[in-house]
């Protein structure tokens, strides 16, 4: 594996907690790798298992569901 390997992560974040947390990370200027792509849902319960499969099929190395 390459030394500077950064996994591509797809994230499904709940509007009320995890998404707000990601916003706060910005306000606090926490730095993290720019390889994360976020999709906001109104609840993490909205995340269909198919979305996770679809993410992996589309070339993501990991899928993160938080809420």
């Amino acid at each position: 594996m390459a030394e500077n390997y950064e996994p591509k992560i797809l994230a499904f974040l709940c509007n009320w907690c995890a998404y707000a947390g990601a916003d706060l990370a910005g306000v606090s200027r926490f730095q993290y790798p720019p390889t994360l792509r976020v999709i906001r849902t109104m609840c993490s319960g909205r995340v269909d298992p198919l979305y996770i499969a679809e993410g992996l099929v589309n070339g993501y190395d990991g899928v993160f569901v938080s809420g």
């Binding site: 797809l10 509007n15 998404y19 707000a20 947390g21 990601a22 916003d23 706060l24 990370a25 910005g26 306000v27 606090s28 200027r29 926490f30 730095q31 993290y32 720019p34 390889t35 792509r37 976020v38 999709i39 906001r40 849902t41 109104m42 609840c43 319960g45 909205r46 995340v47 269909d48 198919l50 979305y51 679809e54 993410g55 589309n58 993501y60």
Partner: protein, 937 residues
Amino acid sequence: MDVGRHLNINIIPNTEVTSLEGEVGNFKARLESVPRFINLDNCTGCGECKSVCPVTAVNEFDCGLNVRSATYIQYAQAVPLAFTIDKDKCIGCGLCERVCLADAIDYAQEPNTAEVEVGAVIMSQGSDAFDPSKFDHYSYSQYPNVITSLEFERILSASGPYQGHLMRPLDREEPAKIAWLQCVGSRDINRCDHSYCSSVCCMYAIKEAVIAKEHASGNLSCNIFYMDMRTHGKDFEKYYDRAKDEGVNFVRSRVHSITEDPKTGNLFLEYVTEAGEIVRDEFDLVVLSVGLEAKESAIDLAKNLGIELNGHNFVATSDQNPVSTSREGVFVCGAFQGPKDIPQSVVEASAAAAAAGEILADSRYKDTKEVELVPETNVVGERPRIGVFVCSCGINIAGTVDVDEVAEYSKTLPYVEYVTNNLYTCSQDTQEIMTQIIKEQNLNRVVVASCTPKTHEPMFRDTLTNAGLNKYLFEMANIRNQCSWVHANNPDLATKKSKDLVRMAVMKVALKEPLQEIKLDVNQNALVIGGGISGMTSALNLARQGFQTHLIEKNEELGGQAKSLYKTAKGEKVGEILNSLLTDVKNEKRIEVHLKTEIEEVDGFVGNFKTKLNKGGKPLEIEHGVATIATGAEEFKPDEYSYGESPMILTSLEFDKKLMAGELKAGEMDTAVFIQCVGSREPDRPYCSRLCCSHSIESALELKELNPEMNVYILNRDIRTYGDREELYKKAREMGVMFIRYSYDEKPEVVFKDGRIVVKAEDKIIGRVLEIETDLLTLATSIIPNKNIQLAQNFKVAMDEDGFYVERHAKLGPSEFATDGVFLCGLAHYPKPIDESIAQAKAASSRAVTLLAQGTVSTNGEIASVNQNNCSGCGTCVSVCPYSAPSFLEEGRMAGKADINAALCKGCGLCVASCRSGAIGLKGFDNEQIFSMISAA
């Protein structure tokens, strides 16, 4: 946020009230504003001014553990989200004015005064944390590793001085052993003159210990030194039990000295254990659990406005009117009324609003603003014409992300017809320009690439509405909070990410359809279930705010448990409170009382309930818009301590009844014993019943008044006289009432010797078993709810395993259910004394009136809907929905299939993801929309 965006809440920051003239219904308040040197209308909160400010000042919000600039914002969630210049610290260099592209800096601002006319006033200034620096015995000022609980909160916070890493101030090392010292600045008349209990510190210390353990890298040793563990709130006792299970160590002892090891900065605590042993132990960090005290500024204002304060400088109130001050039309809520936690503060806030609502009911909607409606253009079936607005946010985005490149790239995306870049897309003038562009370019979809939809989506949606476009044809790409700010060192990849985010938003918005919000009328009648103090108070408030109210009671008369109670904690006679309520209810023309009435069936939903009742055997149907559940609770009849074997072994309510009937011959008694926690804090009922400690002490004091020679013992596990109820505990000790502690494993025993009741209990202090011969034994039994599962099912509301109803949110929605249109108060929610029941009853009505007064409810556009052709009728959606929105259709071609009630759906999508048949879609977050984002990402 809700407050900040509310059309009819005018926030006037940096302002104090200097005088209040006039009277209830017609006050004139003089306001004095101090300048913030930043123009609120122009400031976008971007923070450019802060980043160039060369001044370093102490950050008060982080309790001095951090620094800030002279141009600052107190915390990220502040409303209004605008900066302030601290003129005391500002050196006047002018840098901020030069970099502010929004032209918001105004060094010339002057203080100004204004006058507002109001009908009622609510005081909610809160409290201050006790400052331990004035007292040498806490060594707070001497030793850097002795900190207050508030400092520890900031340390644990992800947005705090150490980014949430558990570190101690001296050397930024992670502590391995922490001590919390309780009752710092509370329950202490020796030094600080605060004899009251601050109510919140036990619970927050446990919470801090549990969270610290989660943040720690190793096995953190957490030790809480306390006198009585006061976890009297709903579900608090369970949290205490959980903390014990997780290894938090509770030591019942008052630490008398703190010394420091100058080499390591570690601290030595010396204390005496319950067994009488002197212990010296070493800790890396000591947290002082500081109590609450009234704010100096609030005290001054109260005096200035002629508001009476109590002996502790909190606003004086009565148990009968817990949110009314001594000046008519002026109300109080929160910690300025007395120390309290968030749920109780929220209850009081709604109660104060309800009390003010009674006065203002006649002038409702006289001075309020309404939104002007712009006719909506029909875009259904049109090919998408997307406009992309890329925001620079000053240099917040443009400083990292190449916004021109993002804008250029956006032009290449499908269906995009118009792209522009704005300095501040959110500014007032840009909004007007956006409205023009949408119209001129015939745009039918809009993407804004800027900050977060959490703060700005509602505003941009309004802009779409103003341009005649359906507000749901909108999507945001968060290229600031989740891109430029977090990838500041990687501009190339941040620009690439921004393009990806814009592409994702464009793909999604292209698939969006206009959504409709349906307006449903709200029936203007209210139904209150339960005719106790809570139910009557709630009904009265609803009626006085102008709504016809049906009050139903299953028994033959109103009154509930209050009929058996003697006095409140403040010494007010419950009978008098009850009588005045009964008279008021009887005289109130808008209340219809239904006695001997029970609910059979409830149909409908928020705004449109149809309830079938059984009124003394006859059927009755009531249509109503809202319902309040105030079904109360009763006392537990004990199965231990020989209850029932002697006429002199009573429950607390039986004691009160005998006392009121004059049947207690206190003069002829030598001894009385009270046993606390009978049936509470046990595996069967793991909750604390909250009011029994205060009640037994009140009863003990009554006995002492009647017969000062009497020996009175209170056998307890912890004495939980929270708030100023602590005064009762203090008075009881002064009057010679003896308090003996027992533990759950070693309960007292009751035996009979020669016909006398004998209570055996071990006194931990002297380490011997006492045998107390007593004339009277009172068992402080737990409060058990009237567990009416049928009612819960009828209104589709949740009940916990103890039988108490589950509120919408433990802290922010304590008086309402997750199911819209149904409200909650009194003992049915959790055991509570009369003042708190009255406050919650008003709170429930206040919440109900916000619905009733609007006259209509609007459904959200982004909700779930069922394609009945695909539905298998399995019922998964019905069982997973927390808001009771799905149900089975009962008639028609699709009978047996699920259907979603648009008025109840919150759009969470739980049912959509759970549906085995793929029959449910979620508007605004539909599968194809999310799949399009995944493949575009």
